[in-house]
């Protein structure tokens, strides 16, 4: 197995074509899913007439600010963990130094990056948040009752790229190169699964929030 993974062709594959496939599936799949849902909403008589840009943005912004909505205030721990987790999940891969170096080597472009120490802390926070979510699924009765196997699966899909990236950076557990290969495989896996699993809540968040914000705002009510 080790010899198989250490084979340069595997590294070349995950470093090149796999990443391309992952990004194409992620971007193409996302556009497809959003388009499908928007077209579906157009067919319904009562969705489009209520949609309002101002009310949608009002609702979106309101819910994207921590402790702004009543439910965020009612559950301070969950709120803190949720926001830290999602901020890390989006910011860290985009502004990580190592990722920027790879892009610079390929295309000669790079952008603002996080310091290595901060990245390390953020990775640990994301990993910790994943563990918190798993524990919450096990120990909070209302969450346990609605937990299915696929809930753990999508949590694992989000968890694996970060834990392998973290271990690769510290060169713990497995040889560096193997860990990096695993990291790239899991990262690609996550990108590919986003449009086609419930990780797609990343895409639909903006649509469902906009609908509920417009629907409530239309009645001069608030949805927070």
């Amino acid at each position: 197995m080790y010899d198989f993974i250490k084979d340069p062709s595997i590294y070349n594959f995950v470093r090149g074509p796999l990443v391309w496939i992952a990004f194409l599936v992620f971007i193409g799949g996302s556009i497809y899913k959003i388009r499908e849902m928007v077209l579906l909403a157009k067919k319904e008589k009562v969705v489009y007439p209520y949609m309002d840009l101002k009310l949608s943005l009002r609702s979106l912004l309101h819910w994207l600010i921590p402790f702004n909505s009543r439910n965020w205030r009612l559950r301070p721990v969950v709120t803190t963990v949720t926001f830290l987790f999602h901020i890390g999940l989006v910011i860290l891969p985009v502004f990580l130094l190592a990722h920027n170096v790879l892009i610079y080597e390929s295309w000669g472009i790079s952008w603002w990056t996080l310091s290595e120490g901060l990245s390390d802390i953020m990775a640990m926070i994301v990993i910790g948040c994943c563990i918190f979510f798993a524990l919450r699924r096990i120990f909070a009765p209302e969450v346990r009752f609605v937990t299915f196997a696929d809930d753990y699966l999508i949590l694992a899909i989000a968890f694996l790229p970060f834990i392998t990236g973290f271990l690769a950076y510290h060169q713990w557990l497995l040889p560096h190169k193997i860990m990096v290969i695993l990291h790239m495989i899991f990262g690609s896996l996550m990108l590919i699964t986003i449009p086609f699993t419930r990780l797609g809540h990343m895409l639909y968040f903006f649509l469902t929030r906009a609908y509920m914000g417009s629907d409530q705002g239309y009645r001069h009510s608030k949805d927070w």
Binding site: M37, L40, A41, K43, E44, V46, V47, S59, W63, S69, R70, N71, L74, R75, V78, T82, A140, P141, E142, V143, R144, F145, V146, T147, F148, D151, R198, G200, H201, Y204, F205, L207, T208, R209, Y211, M212, G213, D215, Q216, K222, D223, W224
Partner: protein, 285 residues
């Protein structure tokens, strides 16, 4: 599904957390005897096929991350010592997700339990949508399950009877047109004991306001009519009530998702408003 004995004091064993004492309701207990798995499967799939073409139905199904943050919104959940089976997402899990998972192939007993959850343990108040980080319309989903139950006839007897009344008479409590006009004239006399020459104008064309009471007001709470008449007269509002059917603003069809009766009730009010050329409809609530 395992057989459940009455001795245990629970109605179901589909989920060990779901503990409910059996409650008798003719609407559930009698209709469930006429159901078969084939009938249920047919109805469930027919309604879910409509759902597949509705974004409001599909988006929550594909978005819900099962975080159970909606639970704190639900007064059923809070008033039952945070029993997880009363959380909004749990109600969706025990009804809609299970029907989808089993493709509608469920026993009549299971369907009775579903009807009890959607009719008797949820008010479709949409408060959970205010607490959901995604703003998912959970009440709409449970409303679809109510629609399935309604088509199967699994509806609490009280509300089903009122819907039957609406579909036959366009009012909630089997009042005839004579009852209605007579009650208004009687109340006019009553108010005249306090305010001289007061009027409850019936079918006045071109009035500013048409008042649509609930069926209960002429039936059992006539003093509401007297009070409304006093308020309207003292405030000097040019008002009227409709003499023809379609004066009742109670819409029980909406609650059980009897869309056909629901739209007839609304149409009745609008038709009267157009007929009398009034500017504004005022409903009791």
């Amino acid at each position: 599904m395992a057989e459940v004995s009455v001795k245990e004091g629970v109605e179901t064993r589909d989920w060990i957390e779901l503990k409910r004492k059996p409650v008798a309701d003719i609407g559930f207990d009698e209709t469930v005897k006429n159901l078969t798995t084939e009938k249920i499967e047919k109805v469930v799939n027919a309604v879910l096929n409509i759902g597949k073409n509705a974004a409001r139905f599909m988006a929550p199904l594909e978005t819900c991350i099962h975080c159970a943050l909606c639970s704190t919104a639900c007064h059923w959940y809070l008033s039952h010592d945070k029993d997880p089976t009363y959380a909004p997402v749990a109600k969706v899990k025990m009804t809609l997700w299970e029907l989808i998972k089993r493709k509608g192939k469920v026993s009549p007993e299971f369907m009775k339990q579903v009807a009890r959850i959607v009719f008797c343990e949820c008010n479709l108040c949409r408060r959970c949508s205010m607490y959901c980080p995604f703003g998912l319309d959970i009440a709409y989903q449970l409303g679809m399950v109510r629609r399935i139950c309604f088509i199967l006839g699994l509806v609490p007897q009280n509300i089903l009877d009122q819907t039957h009344s609406l579909s036959a008479t366009l009012n909630q409590l089997w009042l005839t047109q004579g009852d209605w006009i007579d009650t208004m004239q009687w109340q006019e006399e009553e108010v005249r004991a306090e305010i001289k020459n007061v009027r409850i104008p019936i079918d006045k064309e071109g009035a500013d306001v048409m008042w649509c009471p609930l069926g209960t007001e002429p039936k059992v709470a006539t003093y509401h009519i007297a009070r409304t008449a006093k308020i309207m007269n003292v405030a000097g509002i040019d008002w009227t009530v409709s003499a023809q059917d379609g004066w009742d603003s109670a819409n029980m069809g909406m609650f059980i998702r009897d869309m056909e009766t629901m739209q007839r009730v609304v149409r009745g009010i609008y038709d009267n408003a157009m007929r009398l050329k009034i500017k504004r409809v005022v409903l009791t609530e």
